[in-house]
C-alpha cells in the first residue's frame, strides 16, 4: 500500500500536480532517498514512452480511418493491377534467372556433346558416299526404257550407295573404294554417256579400302586405250592435283594440291589433299598435272572442310598383286604411262572422263 501511494505521488510530481509545499517536501525526499530518486527517473521515462505510444497509436488509427473513408468515397483508388501482373512483377526475376539457366544448360549440353563426339575417330570421318533418291532411280530406269534397252537393275532393287570408279584395264577392270561396294548384292557402273553396265566384284579389301570390279556386260565396248598411267613415285607437298568423280549425276571436276604426305591421324596408307570433294567422289582418281593417277579419293574429315584423304596409288599395285594370285585374273595390266601428258587440262579431261564410272551399289 505504501508503494502504491509512493507511485501515485511520483506520478503527480511528474505531472506537476503537487501543491508548492508538497512539492518541496517531495523533492527533499528525492534528494535524501536514492531509491525514490531512481523510481522517479524510471517512471519519467516510462510515462514519456507511454505518451508517445498513445500518440502514435492515435495517429495510426486516424490514418486508417482516413484511408478507409477516402477509399469508400472513391477519392483514392486501388490501382488496376491484376493478379497476373502482380505475379509477373513478383516473379519476373526468377523467370529471367530460370530462362538463363535453361539457356546455359542447353549450351553446356551442346558443348559436351560436341567435345565427346569429336573424340570418336570413327564418327569424325564422313564416308564419301551418296544416297541417290528413289526418284533418280525411277528416272534412270525410264531413260533406259526410252532407249529401248532393258534396265540393268531390277526395279525392285534398292539403291544403297553411290561412288566413283576408274578403269585400269581396257578389258573392263575398274578400281573403286571397298566401302562403296561393301555389302552390295549387285554393283552397276555407269559411264559419262549414261550407259549402265553390270559388274562383278572380283576383289575387295576393307583394310586398304580398295575394290576391283569387272564389267560383265555384253553391251560394253572396250575403250581403245587408258589415257592415264599409275604414278607410283613419291609425292611432293604442294603438287597440283585434280579429281574427277560423280558427286551428282554429272561428272564433276575438282582442282587442288597435295597438302600432307599422310592421311587421317598419320595414316601412311593415305595422303591428304585439299580439294572440294563431296559424297559420291569416293573411289574417284586423284591425278597429277601429267594425268597420272596418284591415289584414290577415299574420305574426308568432318570438322575440317577441305581436308580430304586419298589412298596412295602404290597400294593399288599391292592390291593388284593379291588379285593376280587368282589365276583367272593374272592378265590384268596397269596402264604405265599417261597419254595425256603435256596436253592442256581440257583435253586431258575429255580423254580421261571416258574411263571414269559412276559406281552404284544395290
Amino acid at each position: 500500500m505504501e508503494e502504491l501511494n509512493m507511485l501515485e505521488s511520483i506520478e503527480r510530481y511528474i505531472r506537476g500536480e503537487m501543491l508548492p509545499e508538497e512539492r518541496v517536501f517531495f523533492e527533499g525526499l528525492r534528494k535524501n532517498n536514492p531509491d525514490v530518486d531512481q523510481m522517479v527517473v524510471e517512471h519519467t521515462v516510462f510515462l514519456h514512452q507511454m505518451e508517445k505510444y498513445g500518440d502514435r497509436k492515435n495517429l495510426r488509427s486516424t490514418l486508417q480511418d482516413v484511408h478507409n473513408a477516402l477509399f469508400e468515397s472513391g477519392q483514392i483508388r486501388q490501382s488496376k493491377e491484376t493478379r497476373v501482373v502482380r505475379l509477373w512483377l513478383k516473379y519476373r526475376k526468377v523467370v529471367a534467372v530460370a530462362a538463363s539457366i535453361a539457356g546455359i544448360t542447353a549450351l553446356c549440353m551442346t558443348a559436351i556433346a560436341i567435345s565427346l563426339s569429336s573424340k570418336t575417330a570413327s564418327k569424325s570421318i564422313e564416308v564419301l558416299n551418296r544416297k541417290i533418291s528413289i526418284l533418280d532411280q525411277k528416272q534412270n530406269s525410264l531413260n533406259a526404257k526410252l532407249k529401248e534397252t532393258p534396265p540393268k537393275v531390277p526395279l525392285e532393287a534398292e539403291f544403297k550407295l553411290g561412288g566413283t570408279g576408274f578403269m585400269i584395264d581396257t578389258r573392263g577392270y575398274i578400281v573403286t573404294n571397298a566401302h562403296v561396294v561393301n555389302s552390295a548384292s549387285m554393283v552397276i557402273v555407269q559411264n559419262n554417256k549414261g550407259q549402265e553396265f553390270k559388274t562383278k566384284i572380283i576383289y575387295i579389301n576393307p583394310d586398304l579400302d580398295i575394290a576391283f570390279l569387272k564389267i560383265m556386260d555384253s553391251d560394253f565396248k572396250a575403250p581403245p586405250v587408258i589415257p592415264y598411267g599409275i604414278n607410283k613415285s613419291n609425292l611432293e607437298l604442294g603438287e597440283a592435283i585434280f579429281t574427277l568423280g560423280y558427286p551428282r549425276d554429272e561428272i564433276v571436276y575438282g582442282e587442288g594440291y597435295l597438302s600432307a604426305k599422310t592421311g587421317y591421324r598419320g595414316d601412311t596408307l593415305a595422303c591428304q589433299i585439299s580439294v572440294a570433294a563431296n559424297p559420291g567422289n569416293s573411289g574417284g582418281p586423284v591425278l597429277d598435272k601429267n594425268g597420272d593417277v596418284i591415289g584414290i579419293l577415299s574420305n574426308r574429315q568432318v570438322q575440317a572442310q577441305g581436308a580430304v584423304f586419298a589412298i596412295r596409288s602404290k597400294y593399288i599395285l599391292s592390291a593388284l598383286e593379291e588379285v593376280k594370285s587368282d589365276t583367272a585374273y593374272t592378265g590384268i595390266h596397269l596402264p604405265q604411262t599417261s597419254m595425256v601428258k603435256n596436253m592442256d587440262r581440257i583435253q586431258q579431261i575429255k580423254k580421261i572422263q571416258e574411263c571414269i564410272y559412276m559406281v552404284k551399289s544395290y
Binding site: E3, L7, E8, E42, Q49, K52, L63, A69, L70, I76
Partner: protein, 187 residues
C-alpha cells in the same frame, strides 16, 4: 496562398492530428506512392502501409517543431516512401536494383532514422501491452491514454470504488513496467 504556405498549414494540421489536413495529404499524394510500390514488386496493401509510415515520419518531423521542409511535400513523401520500401525489400531479400540505383534528391536519412528509433520503442510498448492481457491492458489504456480518472474507470470496469481500481491499476502498471524495462534500451 502560395503552395509553400499551404503545405506549411498542412504540416501544422498534421502535427495537431487534424483530420482535414491528413485527408488532404492523403488525397494529393497517395496515388503517387501506390504506383511507386506496385511498380517495384509491391501490392496495394504494401502501398498503404508504406504511405502511412511516411505520414508518421512526417508527423514526427512536424511535432519536433521544424516545419521547414527543404523540398516540396510531394518530393519529401516520395523520398521517404522510397527509402522505407527499399528497406523492406532488402529485409525480404526481394532487392530491387532499379529502385536502389535512383539517386536520392533530398536528405531524409535523419528523419527516417528518428522514425525508426521511435518505432522500436513503439513496438516494444505494444508488445508489452499485448503480453499484459486483459483487463490490465484496457485499464492502463483508459488511464494513461484516454486520461480517464479513477472513479470513471471504477464505474466502467465495475470496481466498487476508486481505491480498488487504483490498487488494480498499480498491479497492472508494475507488471507492464517490468516487461517494458526488461527490453528497453536507452537511446
Amino acid at each position: 496562398m502560395t503552395t509553400d504556405s499551404i503545405e506549411q498549414g498542412l504540416l501544422k494540421g498534421l502535427a495537431q492530428h487534424e483530420r482535414k489536413a491528413i485527408e488532404t495529404i492523403y488525397r494529393n499524394h497517395y496515388s503517387m506512392v501506390q504506383s511507386l510500390i506496385i511498380n517495384n514488386s509491391g501490392t496495394s496493401d504494401d502501398a498503404k502501409d508504406i504511405f502511412q509510415e511516411a505520414l508518421v515520419v512526417l508527423y514526427e518531423k512536424a511535432r519536433s517543431g521544424s516545419f521547414e521542409l527543404h523540398a516540396q511535400l510531394k518530393t519529401y513523401i516520395y523520398a521517404v516512401c522510397r527509402r522505407l520500401w527499399l528497406k523492406k525489400l532488402q529485409l525480404n531479400k526481394r532487392f530491387s536494383g532499379d529502385l536502389a540505383n535512383a539517386e536520392e534528391t533530398i536528405s531524409i536519412s535523419e528523419d527516417v532514422a528518428i522514425y525508426e528509433h521511435r518505432n522500436v520503442d513503439f513496438e516494444l510498448m505494444e508488445m508489452a501491452m499485448q503480453n499484459l492481457g486483459e483487463p490490465c491492458k484496457a485499464l492502463l489504456e483508459s488511464y494513461y491514454l484516454q486520461k480517464k480518472n479513477m472513479s470513471e474507470i471504477a464505474m466502467e470496469f465495475g470496481y466498487t470504488n476508486a481505491d480498488n481500481a487504483k490498487n488494480q491499476k498499480y498491479k497492472c502498471l508494475m507488471r507492464l513496467k517490468k516487461i517494458f524495462f526488461s527490453q528497453y534500451k536507452k537511446p
